[in-house]
């Protein structure tokens, strides 16, 4: 799919370094200091200041998981206290490189999907990831969520290239940072066992070697187990399990973020709290099987939709999660003609992106608003996410019906 207006500026080899340098210079200009404590860009589980606090405690021999404020994985503790320095400049460099790696992985996935060694849209795909403000701002805010996006895109890339072990290893690392990532395992396994090429236009029953599923799943569990053992060795005891993974299921920290859980649980009767935590967690689980069944002909698309659903409904989301979903749209250009309301979705996203920091400021900095303001803006954000997901879902199904014909319209009953 070559574009007639491809310019040398849009080549991958130019886009990636240029945007990485741009990001670094934005950091060095002091943008990070403004964004560091923004609640939209980093949650208590991805915040840089929490990471530094945990590293400080760890280096002084105190168990960082005893206090209840440090919720990063012990793997990050190990990484930043031994191999890598944890200063702000280094973190910014690391995150810029992570973003570059993620963009490169997205491009490789795109190429694998199109089955070409290189295409004219590579630079555009990379730019769509790197210039997306939902991705750009969290990495400038030094949150660790770009790390998670990079790991997921690497897993998808390796799966598209049929490399099972690196793909499952990346997903295992991601599962340690975010237990929600285990929900990506079914579509990822289907992707490994079939192919990433676009079959959206010609759906058929999936055919894969069923006997290969179990070994791959066991391999994934083995990687997760090894990483668990490593984490326990780093942390010294098993406190980290309740503090990192347990946070996702017990929601001890109700810091406002762009998700929908925090407000709901501030006004929850104590008696019903375990029940609703269970409901919200099962709610994430309930979408995996239907998506994999419906999009069995194109598991990469199922994974893409699942990214969006998890970004909307997970416990501690940041803008980076939605940024991943929105940037991944760029590798499915075949769906673009069939999106029914892309302008509405983009405007809704623009609206919520402006509303979120405004109401956050009104509530928490200025003090003239209250939590309902911010909750309303997170509802608008969820609306815009829902609109995006629904539109992509319909477009993915609509392609199969065929190119649009004047006078006829395909609607859902």
């Amino acid at each position: 799919m070559s574009s007639s207006y491809s310019s040398p500026l849009l080549r991958l080899g130019v886009v990636l370094p240029a945007l990485t340098v741009l990001k670094l210079s934005a950091h060095l200009a002091g943008v990070s200091d403004v964004l560091l404590h923004d609640h939209q860009l980093s949650s208590p589980l991805t915040s840089f200041s929490q990471l530094q606090e945990g590293l400080y405690l760890f280096r002084h021999g105190i168990d960082p998981y005893n206090g209840g404020t440090f919720r990063h994985s012990p793997l990050l503790l190990a990484l930043f206290s031994s191999v890598l320095p944890s200063s702000k400049v280094f973190m910014a460099t690391l995150l810029a490189l992570c973003d570059a790696v993620a963009a490169w992985a997205l491009v490789r996935t795109w190429r694998a999907r199109q089955n070409v060694p290189s295409s004219a849209r590579d630079g555009l795909v990379a730019a769509a990831y790197l210039l997306n403000p939902y991705n750009l701002l969290p990495s400038l805010a030094l949150s660790t969520s770009p790390l998670e996006s990079a790991l997921l895109l690497l897993a998808v890339m390796f799966a598209s290239q049929k490399k099972a072990a690196p793909s499952l290893l990346s997903l295992a690392f991601l599962s340690h940072l975010t237990p929600n990532a285990i929900l990506f395992l079914p579509p990822l396994l289907l992707l490994l066992l079939t192919d990433p090429h676009s079959h959206l236009a010609s759906p058929q029953k999936i055919s894969f070697k069923r006997h290969k599923v179990l070994p791959l799943a066991v391999e994934f569990l083995l990687y997760v187990g090894v990483l668990t053992v490593a984490s326990t060795l780093v942390a010294g005891n098993l406190n980290w399990v309740a503090q990192t993974w347990g946070t996702w299921f017990t929601l001890p920290d109700l810091t406002p973020n762009v998700g929908m859980w925090w407000y709901f649980f501030t006004e929850m009767f104590d008696h019903f709290r375990p029940f609703f935590l269970m409901v919200f967690s099962v709610h994430l689980l309930i979408y995996v099987a239907p998506l994999c069944i419906k999009f069995q002909h194109d598991p990469l698309y199922a994974l893409f939709i699942l990214t969006g659903i998890l970004a909307t409904f997970k416990a501690y989301p940041t803008l980076a999660d939605m940024g991943l979903f929105l940037s991944m749209i760029s590798i499915f250009p075949e769906t673009f003609p069939y999106l029914r309301f892309p302008i509405v979705t983009s405007l809704l996203h623009l609206h919520s992106a402006l509303l979120l920091p405004l109401f956050h400021h009104l509530w928490l900095t200025q003090g003239t608003g209250n939590a309902n303001f911010y909750y309303a803006s997170t509802l608008v954000f969820a609306c815009s996410n829902g609109a995006a997901i629904l539109d992509c879902l319909f477009a993915g199904l609509r392609i199969a019906v065929g190119k649009e014909v004047d006078g006829y319209d395909v609607v859902q009953e």
Binding site: P203, Q204, K205, F269, D270, H271, F272, P274, F275, F276, M278, V279, V282, L285, I286, A289, P290, I293, K294, F295, Q296, H297, L397, A400, V401, G402, K403, E404, V405, G407, Y408, V410, E413
Partner: protein
Amino acid sequence: MDPQNDLAIPSGLRNPADLFFQKETIRRTIIASYWITILLALPLWWHTTSIERLPLPEARVYHQVDKPISIPVRLCLPQSNTDLSSRLQGALSARVPKGLEVVVESGNCGTEKDTYVVSPGPKKIVRGRHLTTPFDDLEGLTQTIVSLVAPSDVEQEKQTRVAQFASRYRLAFSLLNEDASSGNGVMSWDVQKGIHQQIQPLLDVLKPLHNFTIESQVQFYAPLEFDLRPTDSGFGLSYEDLTVFINSAEWTLSSSASNDPVLHFILFVPSASHTPLRIIDSKSSAFILPQWGGVSIYNTPSIWSTQQLSDRGLQRAFSTFSTQLSYTTWHSSSPEDTGLISQWQLDALIRRRMLETAKGTRDTLRSFIKLANQLENMPVREDVRNDIEGSLDALEKLYNSASTSLSQSFAYSAEAFNLASRAFFNPGMLALLYFPTEHKYAVYAPLFASGLVPLFVSALRELKAWKQQRAQSR
């Protein structure tokens, strides 16, 4: 997308009904997967919303609370005969209150602890557990002994002064200047000396009964909430003013560090414009607030501020506090003793408190069982049940040992009372107290009603289509 409908599908489009993912099996599998997840989550729903109610030892409680308690009081008359002792026992048994059981022995007094020895003598002298009194007539002897063993609590007014029993009291001594800036402020006081001299002896005597924690403070601006009544020689407080004297809203009188009951003792220094402040129709300048503590008013002799309260003022204030404290922890009226409080009086106090706590324990346990039975929504957790069982155990030990050592049985009775109170007021049982069952629907409906409607509708639609298909294929 109904294959039965006669659609003229143009050449560019496929019939959506023919698409692979539109097949019925796919649709039914998807709907089934939603429903299977919901059904698998139902036991989790049951488990997370069930109220934990451990069984309470009801039968044991009812059995225990009906048992009466009787505390023996042993008297010994070493120089008398059995005739006098049996007559004395009869007279005393008629006069002592319920709960006490008097046993009078004569002749050789055993070396048993807690036995009171009564011997004849010219004057009434009380020393330790020994009473020397003239044995003129039975009536007078009975009267004397009863007044020592079980001081009469007929005077209702004095009875209500005594604070309810608690194993730990906090004593809060406050020096409140009404307005130190008006010129006559007292900046500090040597409260440690005052406590050591006047209060500590009393606390030492009461050590078997209560533990005391002492806190003290000085405040420089403690305004009164009402206007003072001017009299000829200054200002006066009428009886109604005394009832509203304490300005609880603006005076922080005790720290809220723990739940123990607090007895407040306030030395109030009126401001220069309100000095001298007296209580109308009364010679004293101090008053007691029943079960709360006491206030003493100190009119500064001169209108300039003093760095520290004078020794005389301190001594007067603390002796007032000591009297007020004694009134609040027991009411005493026995003048014939040497020392602060005699052993007889202390024993009588211990016995009174023991009866009070035993009754309180029985009442608390009974009402707790009734409450737990009435409110089915109230969770009863492990710690509550352990407290109830511990209280019952202590009560049983009390009944078994009431005839032996007094201090030991008192310890059991206090323990039973504390455990029963702790169980009754446990905050973990409050969660669903005012939560009617209908509200549960209000909690579930907003989230689930709207979410389950499409699932139900699609499941019903598939069921209908499936039934139709089966009817057709036959």
